[in-house]
Symmetry: C2
Subunit: 266 residues, 2 copies
């Protein structure tokens, strides 16, 4: 350890020599920023944040899929004054479908005030069905929906909106759940990354929440801000493969995808 | 509430009538799956999972950016037998740069055994600098790196790898941190979504971790599996704008992006 600790002492010393503000600029994230913006980090915790931006509530429930809420939260949290709260039936850690990760719900439904946006993530079968059948979730969504500017979902979250009676006539969902969506809720499945129907915006599977949230970012602010947020999260997607579209996938690949999903879930 | 509760009772009744296995199939996620796979969900908790897949450790630290670890974890958690653990200096919730969200670290560094893959997310200035200066993080990364097949980072996570002395000669990082990367660590910045240098794989900013993790998925299994995972997370990106590439962005958009980032951070 002695050798490697010496090695990193160089970094520490250099950093210390730079001093606070200079080191922040040197880290590159604030390069070219006015001094005021570079000091924005001192404004305190969430509770003390100026509530001049959209109030966004993200519903967590046992077995949700990790990227469904976290992609949109990464994007929407960069909007000026955004006040985002992870909420659930009860406060505390909520574990994902694979069991590998837990995200903390900071507020219970009963503690949540009016929201401009509510977002419902999707889940595996077990989590989706349990959420659809959970009266506390359905009641919360209906209550929030009365006041929201936008009621949104990612992946099978649209089935949960459907169970709460909040879908209109067109929606999207996870590709493998399209028949269920149409049969159960009498809704026309639209195979797009996100579908706007009145104030309800549904996104397709998992990663589609990122695309949807950039659209939502523009609705909540303006296109220039949404474009800046896209740059802020360096969202210039270049996946190494082109197999993310179910409409172009072979039956074998679809079966393998669903098998991997089922086997990864608890 | 009575009226709306009646409304959703229809869903509950329909679901109950379908019964367990049929309801799972009806939810669409398991459509076309062999019965065995459809029952994979009963195999128990993480601890009981067959450890025949890659052991992946994701390092959390105060002020990390939410999508940096969660995009890759969503992808990698679908690999057969994947054993993913969120780890930090101490167990417990670790809050993001914006303060909106906390992800739970399930293990402390001292409790973490050998890993096949370690992943270090990026953060805002405050979090990145604190992580670079944290001897416990640097020591853990160096220890893990001795045994990993792949040592990986997202966004400014590459600066943390650099502080631990683990970068080679080429790497990528968040677009605004490229000068800092080159000056501080004598590394050539490569403006690609991910850069492979020996067993170290660095990804560009935030969302680039998703692209990197599909590449990593193929290295850990095979290309067919990686393609199936891409379909499983419906990663067919279609952002509404095309402003995610810093090399093509105007100075004004870059300044706005950095200002939004700075103002969103605690």
């Amino acid at each position: 350890m002695t050798n490697s600790d010496n090695r990193t002492d160089t970094t520490t010393t250099r950093r210390a020599a730079l001093g606070g503000a200079a080191a922040l600029a040197a880290a590159g994230l604030t390069a070219g920023l006015p001094a005021a913006a570079a000091h924005a980090g001192t404004k305190g915790d969430t509770a003390g944040r100026t509530a001049d931006g959209p109030r966004i509530g993200v519903v967590l429930y046992d077995g949700f899929s990790l990227l469904d809420p976290t992609g949109p939260v990464e994007v929407l949290s960069r909007l000026p004054g955004a006040d985002i709260t992870m909420i659930a039936e009860r406060r505390g850690p909520v574990r994902t479908d694979t069991g590998h990760t837990a995200v903390v719900a900071d507020r219970a439904f009963a503690e949540t005030g009016e929201l401009d946006v509510v977002l419902v993530p999707g889940a595996g079968n077990r989590g989706t069905i349990a959420a659809m059948e959970n009266p506390a979730i359905r009641r919360f969504l209906r209550r929030a929906h009365r006041r929201t500017r936008f009621t949104t979902s990612v992946c099978t979250g649209s089935l949960v909106l459907g169970a709460a009676g909040l879908l209109g006539t067109r929606a999207t969902t996870y590709w493998a759940s399209k028949d269920y969506l149409e049969t159960t809720f009498g809704v026309t499945y639209v195979p797009e990354r996100y579908v706007h129907d009145g104030k309800v915006i549904t996104a397709a599977g998992v990663s589609a929440g990122i695309d949807m949230s950039l659209h939502l970012a523009a609705l909540l602010t303006d296109e220039r801000t949404a474009r800046a947020v896209q740059l802020a999260v360096e969202y210039d997607p270049q996946p190494p493969y082109d197999s993310g579209n179910a409409a172009e996938a072979s039956p074998e690949l679809k079966e393998l995808a669903l098998r991997l999903l089922a086997e990864s879930q608890q």
